[in-house]
C-alpha cells in the first residue's frame, strides 16, 4: 500500500523520522484493548505490528486508519514510554464509529505522530524527533492550569500525566473539566487518582442529572473559583472552539499573558504532513504548525469566520 504522500523536507531532515513506517504509509497496529469512556467515546490501546511509529509528545495526534473505511485525525491520549499507543475516539461519523467498534486483535493503520505539542516535559536538546512549527517551551516551575471541554480532555491527558509524573518540576496543577452531563465525563475512573497525585481537579456539567451533587454551569465559571497567579500560570485549553475562545478570553482578562495560554485547534487534517492544505487556517497549516498554538498566535485565527 502506498499513500502517494511525499515526505516534506521539514520532516525528512529530522533524524529518525525520514523513511520510518507510519509517517507517509500507515504502520500496522493491533487493538490490544478497548475501554468505553462514555456512550460514544472509546479509548483504544494499540500495539505495533512490526515497526512502531516515532515517539510522540503530549498534544500530538495521529491519523488512524480503519481499513476499508477511511482515515481520521485522532488525539493521542496516553503518554509515551512503551510501544503501545493510547488513543481516545468519539464516534461522530463512519470512520470513528468503526474505530470505536474495533475489537481486540483487530488491525488498524497509524500514521504520525504529527503536529506540535503542549510543551510539557519537552526540554531543549531532548532526544527524539523535533516537530516542525513553533516549539512551545516546558513551563517548568510554573503553575499549570488545564481546562478541558468534553472530549478535549483526551489530548490534555498526556500533558497532565507527564506533569504528574514529574510533580516537583511544576507548581500547582489545576484541572478544570466541563462536560455536557455527568454521564459524558471522560476518564471519570481516573479523576481521583489525579487528585491523589497532586492535582486540584474540578468538574462542572452543563446539564445535571438526578443525583448529581457537583458543579453545574459552564467551565469558565470554575475559573473564578480557583486561586490563579496570572504571572506564574501557563494554561492549556482544549475543547470546542467557542469554549476555548471564551476560556482564553477569561484567562487573558485575569492577566495571564497570551503567550502563556495554549490552545489546541482542529481543522480537517488529512495528510498530516502539511502538503494537502485541508487543515489550513489563515496562514497556518494546523497539522504541522498546530494543533497546539499559543493564544497570541491563535486569537486572530479564531476570529476567522470562514475560509
Amino acid at each position: 500500500m502506498t499513500s502517494g504522500y511525499a515526505v516534506p523536507a521539514g520532516y525528512a531532515g529530522r533524524a529518525g523520522y525520514a523513511g520510518r513506517a507510519g509517517y507517509a504509509v500507515p504502520a500496522g497496529y493491533v487493538v490490544e484493548s478497548s475501554r468505553a469512556e462514555t456512550r460514544d467515546t472509546v479509548t483504544l490501546v494499540l500495539r505495533p505490528g512490526r515497526q512502531p511509529i516515532a515517539a510522540h509528545r503530549p498534544g500530538q495526534f495521529t491519523m488512524l486508519y480503519a481499513f476499508g473505511i477511511g482515515e481520521v485525525p485522532i488525539s493521542i491520549s496516553g503518554i509515551a514510554g512503551g510501544p503501545e499507543l493510547v488513543q481516545t475516539i468519539r464516534a461522530v461519523g463512519a470512520v470513528t464509529r468503526a474505530l470505536c467498534a474495533a475489537e481486540p486483535e483487530q488491525h488498524v493503520g497509524v500514521r504520525g505522530p504529527f503536529g506540535t505539542d503542549w510543551g510539557v516535559g519537552v526540554t531543549a536538546g531532548s532526544a527524539g524527533v523535533e516537530p516542525p512549527g513553533t516549539a512551545l517551551s516546558d513551563p517548568a516551575g510554573k503553575d499549570l492550569l488545564i481546562v478541558a471541554g468534553g472530549i478535549g480532555l483526551a489530548p490534555l491527558r498526556p500533558a497532565l500525566l507527564t506533569a504528574l509524573a514529574a510533580r516537583e518540576r511544576y507548581g500547582r496543577i489545576t484541572v478544570l473539566v466541563g462536560s455536557r452531563s455527568p454521564a459524558e465525563i471522560a476518564f471519570t475512573a481516573e479523576l481521583d487518582s489525579w487528585r491523589e497525585a497532586g492535582a486540584d481537579v474540578r468538574v462542572t456539567v452543563d446539564r445535571a442529572e438526578a443525583g448529581w451533587r457537583g458543579n453545574v454551569g459552564v467551565v469558565t465559571q470554575l475559573i473564578g473559583k480557583v486561586d490563579i497567579d496570572p504571572a506564574a500560570t501557563v494554561a492549556f485549553i482544549c475543547g470546542p472552539e467557542v469554549m476555548m475562545r471564551l476560556t482564553a478570553r477569561a484567562l487573558s482578562a485575569l492577566g495571564i499573558a497570551e503567550t502563556d495560554i495554549r490552545v489546541s485547534l482542529e481543522r480537517n487534517m488529512r495528510c498530516g504532513i502539511a502538503e494537502c492544505g485541508h487543515c489550513q487556517l489563515g496562514t497556518v497549516l494546523l497539522c504541522r504548525d498546530g494543533p497546539v498554538l499559543d493564544y497570541a498566535r491563535a486569537r486572530p485565527l479564531l476570529a476567522i469566520r470562514e475560509l
Binding site: 481520521v72 461522530v92 461519523g93 470513528t96 473564578g224
Partner: protein, 159 residues
Amino acid sequence: MSPVPAAELAAHPFLRGMPDGQVAQLAEVATATYVPVGHRFFEEGGHARRFWLIRDGHVALDLSVPGQPSLIVETLGAGDMMGVSWLSPPHEWQYGAEALEDTRTFELDGAAVIARCDADPALGYQFFVRLMTVATRRLHSSRIRMLDLYAAPGQTGGR
C-alpha cells in the same frame, strides 16, 4: 446569625471597590450566617425577601420535578451572589436553593437594601451595577449552555 463588620462585608467580591460609606450602609442590614450541608435556603414559589453573598461553600439552585429528585440548574460558590427574586414582583423564588456543603454567607434584607438605595442614589447606582454584572454573566453562561457545545457534531461525512 451575627452582625457584620463593614470591613468583612467589603471583602466580598460582589462589593469589591464599593466606597466604605456605602458598604457600611449595607452592613447595617446584613447578618453573617453559617448553614450545614442540606440546609434549604428557600423553596420554589416561596416569598422572596432576602439575598445572600456566599463566602464559602457550595449551593445548588434546583427545580422540583414530580416523581423525581429535584434537578440542579446551576451551582454557586464562594464569591457568588445568590437570589434576585426579592427585587421585583411577584417576589417569588423561581428555584429552590440547597447547601451542598457547609456554607457561610452574608444574608441581606432585600427591602432594607432597596430603602437605602432609594435614599442614597449613589449607593443604588453602585449596587445595581454589580447586580447587573451578575445577571449579565449568568445570562451569558445560560446562553452558552444552550448552545450545547459538547454535543457530537452533526457530521455526515467520513469522520
